[in-house]
Symmetry: C2
Subunit: 475 residues, 2 copies
Amino acid sequence: MLDRFPTTLQSECYLEKDRPLLVGVSGGPDSLCLLDVLRRLDYRLVVAHLDHALRPESAEEALTVKRLAESQGAACVIKRQDVNAFAELHGLSLEEAARNVRYQFLFEQAQLYQAQAVAVGHTADDQVETVLMHILRGAGLSGLKGMAFRSLPNSWSQDIPLVRPLLGTWREEVLAYCQANALKPNLDLSNQDIRFYRNRLRRDLIPYLKDYNPRVREVLWRTARLLNDDFAILEHATSLAWQACLRVRSDGAIAFDLQGLREQPVGLQRHLLRRAINWLRPGLRDIDFDAIEHALEFLVNPPRSRRRDLIAGLSLLIEENQFWLFTWEADLPNQGWPQVLEGDVRRLDVPGVLPLGAGWRLSAEITTDVEGARQLAYTNADPFQAWLDNGELNSSLLVRSRQPGDRFRPLGMGGKSLKLADFLVNVKLPRRARAAWPLVVSQDEIVWVPGFRLAHPVRLRGETEEVIKIKLARE
Amino acid sequence: MLDRFPTTLQSECYLEKDRPLLVGVSGGPDSLCLLDVLRRLDYRLVVAHLDHALRPESAEEALTVKRLAESQGAACVIKRQDVNAFAELHGLSLEEAARNVRYQFLFEQAQLYQAQAVAVGHTADDQVETVLMHILRGAGLSGLKGMAFRSLPNSWSQDIPLVRPLLGTWREEVLAYCQANALKPNLDLSNQDIRFYRNRLRRDLIPYLKDYNPRVREVLWRTARLLNDDFAILEHATSLAWQACLRVRSDGAIAFDLQGLREQPVGLQRHLLRRAINWLRPGLRDIDFDAIEHALEFLVNPPRSRRRDLIAGLSLLIEENQFWLFTWEADLPNQGWPQVLEGDVRRLDVPGVLPLGAGWRLSAEITTDVEGARQLAYTNADPFQAWLDNGELNSSLLVRSRQPGDRFRPLGMGGKSLKLADFLVNVKLPRRARAAWPLVVSQDEIVWVPGFRLAHPVRLRGETEEVIKIKLARE
């Protein structure tokens, strides 16, 4: 066994001998074997042990690990944490709680010791059990691929890899090694309890499956290896699609280009959605299959509201050309829209300048060069400026947000009046932008909806004698 | 059940009502249900039935199918083939033989009837069994993904799709449908025999797995659906890599760019190799895992011979910048090299032209403009032409392939002589090209290795009075 380890450690785990390596040692056969192999191959080790405080004898076992490490001249850190209490506090299963507490501890210590990696004792049998568990519980490729010799990034760190040097070694090899080298593992009773489901797989299911294929363990191990490499290709393809489709990423909200997302193959759409959910809810494990299918259905066939709730306090929204995924607690970014305070009414002097916030300024000036203004108005391409017939204004110009019952007579509709709400829908102003969109009014008549349309009554005509030019611009 | 079918037929199977559709009908519950549903939805059907001739009553059953089709006004084709004999002849299992014979028949008939697709009665349970079988036997993504509602291309056709409208329908739904609609399926006894392994999965393994997850069937079905879409992404990535890496594709041989192949992630290397093997050996099912791993090992770490045998009469060869995969019966393409017959010696007249075959022509001319020739020789960039000092030639010019013991004094090495074999290795002439590479000799001295180097003794010098220009060119 020692023969093939140097290769595994170098070409699969990418470990270097001259940098510290943190080894998680439970005291069971796997971790004792791992520790012994690494020590014989002269790695610089820091031993870390978490006492889960699940059994009375656990403190004594921790001490055994400490003595062992010291006898080998390795640094050793022990921590005792009440995993039962942690599980209750966070509403987790005991297995999940133990896992979270343990890995958090290992990576904290790795950081502290500037370790090149955290090494743990998962064996080939653990791999097979993990794969089977995912097969039975239902998982995509990300579960079926099982574990890797080296994972980076992983759930606990972006820069410290998690390595599993024993991933290609069967449990019986580990036990034989322990015996041959007089290693005395703990009985690891807590493990037996908290890994109930896994132990059933190991003791009942796998032997049963050998009836169907005597080499089923090897076959599942190999499958995991293949799928790991396939998953890497998918991750890469997902990253490319992510770059191509992502439009906004802010605190609690992600927007994809709607068309771009729709044009992706459905497999990539799923992976993009998963990645987005992971980004918004990093703690979430096992993203629900149905949630993703609902999101896909919403993408292809959105309801009239163009909005739906998903899982884990997340919602979907389609707004113009963007597909939003956001947390309920997040304010969707307003994307730099000009907005005014709702209920606030302010006077726009002519000439004058009125700051609206977020760098937006509304300005007005007057001119008697009607012919020049008419030329400019006809050739204008910027919907954020407009020319009004001053003679048609009944009173001074005011700026406010919309009010219930607002109507508007858009230029180009022969003076017909319609509900402002309908007009704003027609011109596709995003729903969220509507409530605080600035409107220029004169008495109760809306004379200009910046960004969209002048009102019919104040258009320039043959009789016009004086023109007001207004402009909304951002610094 | 009839409610959801129109959607499945359109959006999953992409079927049209006004084009013929060939339905494979065994007479069992699945295919009778499928036939009935399609008929009620007004598809234009051609019923096809293969009598496997495995049981005495099979002819009678074929007749039942024929009567049923005729009573529905559908065209019907029946064929009887001795599957047992076919299995023995081709050394196949009965299940595999039945499958081959049946699908070949269905697709032949589909071609004949210009059918838009071949429809078969696989159910959601068949899907789950297929996935489980691949899990147990060991398969990559291409197996784990199971079957698809629509497959094109498939193993039997490049242009006629295979569709499985019942793939989302459970067997109990099918049976309930048959009962409700008074359909009378065959007992399908042959099926029970030839699908022994599958039936074990159905009757023993799946019920057993329900102890671990009561919804294991649904979970496996869903997994297949996810993996199908993931597989499509991988296929696309593979196609891009294929285009980027493929250099030669000829009868029985494929060459990838060596560097390009090495730079691909290992997952894609696997898929490229699988695709190449499939291309060279289209009949081959279940490409061996170890074969691919050996090919990967060879790619990274080729032996000194730079050659190894693989499986199924295929070999690997690394030659300069190319990674070859080829069948033993194939001649590797010589890539248009100039070659002469081994053992043949021919005279090159000066002036004169000597055709070498494959469009190559060796030509020689004489000039006394030594200064001009010197200029040309110094600035020459084409290794397929050279200028020789005629005064240094002992006898007339001959063209031949290499002989045992050949030595060569390359220009630029101060007249040092080395083995021609070593020289050819040094200049990286592909091994296969060496034996018949044309050499220009004068008595026993090699004066020019076309494409590579002039000999030191015949170089142009101050004293040169007469120059021979030789050139090797392709029409």
